[in-house]
Amino acid sequence: MNMFTKVKDRISKTIQGLFSRKNSCIGIYGSPNAGKTTLGNRILSDCDIDEEFGSTSHIAHETRRAKKHESVNINTDNGSLKLDIVDTPGLATKIDFNDFMEEDMDEETAKSRAKEATEGVVEAVKWLDDLTGIVLVMDATEDPYTQINVTVIGNIEARHIPMLIVANKCDRSDASPDKIKEAFPQHPIVSISALEGTNMDELYSEIARRFR
């Protein structure tokens, strides 16, 4: 994209933002099994929406299609905020059906899951172009320096769109959200447990602050 196109694109987006009444659209991103869908489901449940983004599983790539929920009304101490939220499939650089067979899947199911998982990653990458903010979910029990985290953060920084890092699974005794804070000190981080609903109020306040 040349300089002129970039400037034109930015002016066009600014004008659209001024005159349209569209909600902000934020994407939930992260590696497989970071807890993205669990977080999405928790947000819908806290907002009294009687639906889920999808099922969750300990087996990677349970979410293989992006799913959008429109006009989610998030209430915080500082008022409410209406957002469109997209739960995306986990990003990965490698997918091997043999890994699914190790989880007791039959070969046909494992191959089908692998194919859908690759398509899901492509869909997640394509969604990046249409979002106004990113919630990057990291598993606080894992090493934060994964290439997926590095790549997503690099992309968001280059696109200059707001991002919030969520250190998830803080209910676990081996969770270490401080490692995430050390790794990415330039970005806001909120520690939660999406599974147990811990510290969600702080997350909603931060979402309102970053994505309004």
Binding site: K94, I95, V122, G154
Partner: protein, 118 residues
């Protein structure tokens, strides 16, 4: 164990290529079993394009090609006003890329990336 070829790719070589040429080059070389060390890595948008293209090349029926292992340090933001003005504040960093079937990360932190080949 069969020999593994490791190519150190200069920034001069990569920067002479268009984005899709770089991606095609990386995928083709890793499909041959080679490991590439890119002097200055890829731009963030090139990294996501690489992920996208890699997914479309994965063979989910025979698992002959299961994707890539790729590691780089977290990006460094340039503090120069000129870079920021021209939207070039994120610099690529040294990056290692290889076939997922043979290159494995054993440890990574802010300053050291440890890989094994098997």
């Amino acid at each position: 164990m069969a020999d593994t070829q490791i190519d150190l790719v200069s920034n001069a070589k990569l920067s002479s290529m268009a984005t899709m040429e770089k991606i095609r080059y990386i995928i083709d070389e890793t499909k041959k079993g080679k490991i590439l060390v890119l002097e200055n890595g890829l731009l963030p948008e090139e990294e996501t394009k690489l992920i996208e293209m890699t997914m479309s090349e994965i063979d989910s029926q025979e698992a002959k090609y299961t994707g890539i292992e790729v590691q780089s340090y977290p990006s460094k933001q340039s503090s120069s006003i000129i870079s920021k003005l021209f939207n070039r504040s994120t610099k690529g960093r040294m990056t290692i890329i290889g076939p997922a079937s043979s290159l494995h990360t054993i440890k990574k932190d802010a300053n050291i990336i440890s890989e094994i080949i098997r």
